[in-house]
Assembly symmetry: C2
Homo-oligomer: 214 residues x 2
Amino acid sequence: MNHLALLPRRRGRPPRDASVPRQDTRELLVRTGVAVLTEKGYSAVGIDEILRIAQVPKGSFYHYFDSKEAFGQVLIDAYASYFAHKLDRWFLGVPVPPLQRLRHFIEDAKAGMARHGFRRGCLVGNLGQEMGTLPESFRVQLQMVFRDWQSRTAGCLAEAQQAGEIPPQLDCSALAQFFWIGWEGAVLRAKLERSPEALDVYAQGFFALLSPGP
Amino acid sequence: MNHLALLPRRRGRPPRDASVPRQDTRELLVRTGVAVLTEKGYSAVGIDEILRIAQVPKGSFYHYFDSKEAFGQVLIDAYASYFAHKLDRWFLGVPVPPLQRLRHFIEDAKAGMARHGFRRGCLVGNLGQEMGTLPESFRVQLQMVFRDWQSRTAGCLAEAQQAGEIPPQLDCSALAQFFWIGWEGAVLRAKLERSPEALDVYAQGFFALLSPGP
């Protein structure tokens, strides 16, 4: 998923004094951090590596962030917002049947992974997997992100149900929770195999679950 | 999953000279390594930490393993064997309907995670997620492990299909692949939430997929 290109620009004009582009430096650090964490996770990456890639001196980092932990929290927030925006873009107010919207989101995620040679996965999934070595403050933050994505996805599924695309007895919230639980496994496997196959297999199984039976 | 207790003992008698318990030291390193990797993954853990936990001097490590990479390969193999053995124990030759065997495996995995306070997940899932920073030699090895587990699971599902527990038109190999793709996501989420809920939600969805429809 092309985070670097798609992360929303910060609002407002850049500062007047071009020799001190504060917001730009901070934004550059966040963009670089998100890109690196989607590929390598948190534990394996030092601040030095991110600074080297972003070509930002170490002093600047501690001007914007108190610690690697504080930086990590900002990265989770940035990725969560970026992704919530992406889900809204696919799910809300588009003239496409609701289940087709979910298919489009999946195709877009697939294309995003392919664009990066299946090296980048999901920042939140990576950090969830690493939770054994992460600052404890990340745990609730990551859980809230999943809850948010599930809720947006449940909304799309509820629309599908209203449109008769999903049997009325199915629980859309539970289905959305199921989707995100397994989807992170599919992203993990796609990275491991450097192939879209796991995403396709998972999507096919998930849509079978929504169908009114054989 | 209680690797330390369940890893099979090496075959044969211990060496006669008790002052040089070579196999025991190697086995201790492997057991400790597997336990640590299921909790923390590969990148965040140094050999020093494993040696400290196992109370083995550094010189001994390099007597048994050429490098951290070689050690990692041995750990993947040890975990894969342990787990294949576990799957066989649940799936083969037990006087229980085939789908019930899969349920028992899931309950056992849940109990294993609970026993370790949901801190330990799956070594293969952890390493799959970390693949962006791992030695490239791990990639094929990890893929082969998934293929092996899927194949054993497909065998159990095929028995279920023969017994009429699964509709005849479903593809048991594809279902087994789907199961393992999503199951790793469920283990990840259970670790993040320190709760069995994700395992239950995933299992419920998966069994719904096997049912003959509403």
